[in-house]
């Protein structure tokens, strides 16, 4: 459904994207995982026909993003990272406007957005600017879905959204996938990565790795240990200089460690843990 070949993009002095290539299958939830400034938004804008890449080519729904941009625009749903609806229009006015933009009506595609929209429908006369973060995202998603797009681009849809709304949001994406919509989603939250079918880890405009989250975790090369201490930073600094330790970093409230040879050190409360995507990301970052 999406084919990207050797896409590069430069801004004045910064190389935002460096020869990225990947493919997304139809009906897949593909996650682009990486920190802020990694190039996620640039990639989304190129695929949504809003930016021109400096080199390389990309196809969305089997259409070229440069030549066929007009056709693509009627087939995709795009939700930018920032809330980009009319804050002074009410919920229903926004929805109706976007339905008109895509030459359809709210009634016609109500089924598709029903699950999402019914949650904000009680507030349909409220101004969009007065909604909570989670509700804003639901409205934005409804607006992006109103024309039943074949591909959905969601640029950091859950940034700044509370944990409950985030979970609900991902449940909705699962349902949309069942309807056959291909979803490209980016997020800075590593815990959301496991909810995608496949993910690409991105750092400084380059992909570190592309795989399913399960495989990625399986491929973590070394046993991983966690250590719970009161003084994480003190331990971090001591252990960093220890030659027997391959890597040590803070993950949540714990220290995560890998050793060059299996646990050669006697450390308090050292327990083996299963690696997460975050561990993979940090490992790949160091490896590169």
């Amino acid at each position: 459904m999406i084919q990207v070949r050797q896409i590069s993009k430069n801004y004045k002095n910064v190389q935002a994207l460096k020869e990225l290539s990947f493919e997304v299958q139809a009906g897949e939830i593909f996650g682009i995982i990486g920190p802020d400034g990694a190039g996620k938004t640039s990639l989304f804008r190129i695929l949504a026909t809003l930016l021109l890449a400096d080199s390389g080519s990309a196809r969305v729904a089997n259409l070229d993003v440069v030549q066929d941009y007009k056709k693509i625009r009627s087939r995709i749903g795009y939700m930018p990272g920032r809330f980009s609806l009319y804050q002074d229009l009410s919920v229903i006015e926004n929805l109706e406007l976007f339905a008109t933009v895509f030459n359809t009506s709210v009634k016609e595609n109500y089924d598709l957005i029903k699950d999402i929209y019914c949650q904000i429908e009680p507030f349909k006369d409220r101004k969009a600017g007065k909604l909570s973060g989670g509700m804003k995202q639901k409205l934005a998603l409804s607006c992006a879905l109103i024309h039943k797009p074949t591909v959905l681009f969601l640029d950091e849809p859950t940034t700044g959204v509370d944990p409950v709304s985030r979970k609900e949001f991902w449940d909705m994406l699962r349902k949309l996938k069942q309807q056959g919509i291909t979803i490209l989603v980016s997020t800075p939250y590593m815990d959301e990565a496991s909810l995608c079918d496949r993910i690409a880890l991105i750092q400084n405009g380059q992909f570190l790795h592309i795989d399913s989250p399960q495989n990625m975790v399986k491929q973590f090369p070394k046993p991983l240990y966690a250590m719970e201490t009161i003084e994480n930073y003190k331990w971090l600094n001591t252990l960093k200089n220890d030659a027997r330790i391959a890597s040590v970093y803070i993950c949540g409230e714990k220290l995560h460690l890998t050793f060059k040879a299996d646990p050669a050190l006697h450390l308090p409360d050292l327990v083996p843990v299963a690696p997460t995507i975050e561990d993979c990301f940090i490992h790949l970052m160091q490896y590169n």
């Binding site: 625009r73 976007f98 895509f102």
Partner: protein
């Protein structure tokens, strides 16, 4: 779902944006009223109740009649009758009078026998405009008196240089300001507000969503133009009503062509606004550019406040590219001088050319992608 439906949905949306922003609405509709009243009454060069001193050593029938006439006019208030001409100096220095009228002695006799009597007019010229206007008024009164006197006595008298002011015999300040304020307000609302409205969509990111949709960018732009066009028409009506009924400036020429030339000017201003919106990224920048690049030239180079003829050649040349200058010229001719259409064809042509050029350039500059 037709294209017209899309278009009308967008126009509806634009009107909602405008009507829901109460403060801006109030400014948009209140501004012409305030400006007209400000320019018409407060910032006026018109002379009213100027304090006058009269030195009249002859005190005869002729001088009495002149003084009587001065008294009767609403421009002058004769406050002092000094006994010595030297006292007048002091009155000026103390700021008690703005004008002094000095007759020579035996005024009536000299007038009748030699036909040569003199009157001296002294004006406080710290405000040169004010002074020349006062002298003008006074000379008019003297001239009128002389006319009357000649008819009564059938004696040829020395003719005091007659000052004749075309179109604006009373030199009413409002006459000059009305076309200027029209140019200023229409330019401000059309160019500034449209550019801000378009740039706002860029700034809030809604333009990004719209660009990623199948809607034609032209629709988005032109749907913004229509509400501001109608607002400008409301303002145009307000200004015309105020100037006719409050300031007493008549529409001497054809109202129809006055409205047509205003529509033409509104079109120029709207396309300027669109052009600005394609250049800048933020609302603040749009406001600054419209403020600096549009407001200032309208105020300074259009002949609204300062006469263009007195400017250095470079500025005179610059003033030619200020659309408001041509609009103000046309309005002056049509509204105040009451000239026929054929006298404003040049202004019409220039404004039409400007509109065409600006629309072409802004359509060329409009991007279908971000940045």
């Amino acid at each position: 779902m037709g294209k017209t439906q899309q278009f009308s949905a967008f126009i509806k949306k634009e009107f909602r944006h405008i009507f829901r922003d109460r403060r801006s609405m109030l400014i948009l509709l209140g501004m012409p009223i305030i400006q007209i009243i400000l320019f018409g009454f407060a910032i006026t060069t018109e002379v009213k109740n100027a304090q006058v001193a009269v030195f009249d050593p002859s005190n005869d029938i002729a001088t009495q009649r002149i003084i009587h006439r001065l008294h009767a006019s609403e421009y002058f208030h004769i406050a002092y009758y000094p006994n010595h001409p030297e006292d007048i100096n002091q009155l000026f220095q103390e700021g008690k009078i703005q004008l002094a009228i000095l007759f020579n002695d035996h005024f009536d006799q000299r007038l009748k026998h030699t036909g040569d009597a003199s009157v001296q007019l002294l004006a406080d010229a710290t405000d040169p405009n004010q002074a020349s206007i006062m002298v003008g008024y006074a000379s008019n009164i003297l001239a009128a008196f002389q006319q009357e006197w000649m008819q009564e006595c059938r004696i040829p008298l020395q003719i005091i240089p007659e000052i004749r002011m075309l179109y604006n015999p009373q030199m009413k300040g409002a006459y000059n300001f009305v076309p200027g304020v029209m140019g200023l307000i229409l330019m401000l609302i059309c160019a500034m507000m449209t550019s801000i409205a378009i740039v706002r969509e860029k700034e809030t990111g809604t333009m990004e969503v719209l660009l990623a949709s199948p809607i034609k960018p032209g629709y988005v732009i032109f749907s913004k133009v229509i509400p501001y066009f109608s607002l400008s028409v409301v303002n145009l009506i307000t200004i015309l009503l105020l100037s006719v009924f409050v300031l007493g400036v008549p529409v001497s020429g054809s109202l129809f062509w006055l409205v047509i030339v205003s529509f033409l000017f509104i079109t120029v201003a709207l396309s300027l606004g669109i052009l600005i919106s394609t250049i800048v990224r933020t609302q603040v920048a749009a406001m600054l550019i419209s403020g600096m690049a549009l407001m200032m030239p309208v105020m300074l180079l259009s002949g609204m406040i300062f006469p263009v003829e007195n400017m250095p050649l470079i500025l005179q040349g610059l003033s030619h590219i200020v659309p408001a200058k041509w609009f103000i010229l046309a309005v002056k001719k049509l509204m105040i001088e009451g000239l026929a259409l054929r006298f404003v064809l040049k202004e019409f042509a220039i404004l039409a050319l400007m509109a065409l050029l600006l629309i072409t350039v802004s359509l060329k500059k409009f991007k279908v992608r971000l940045s």
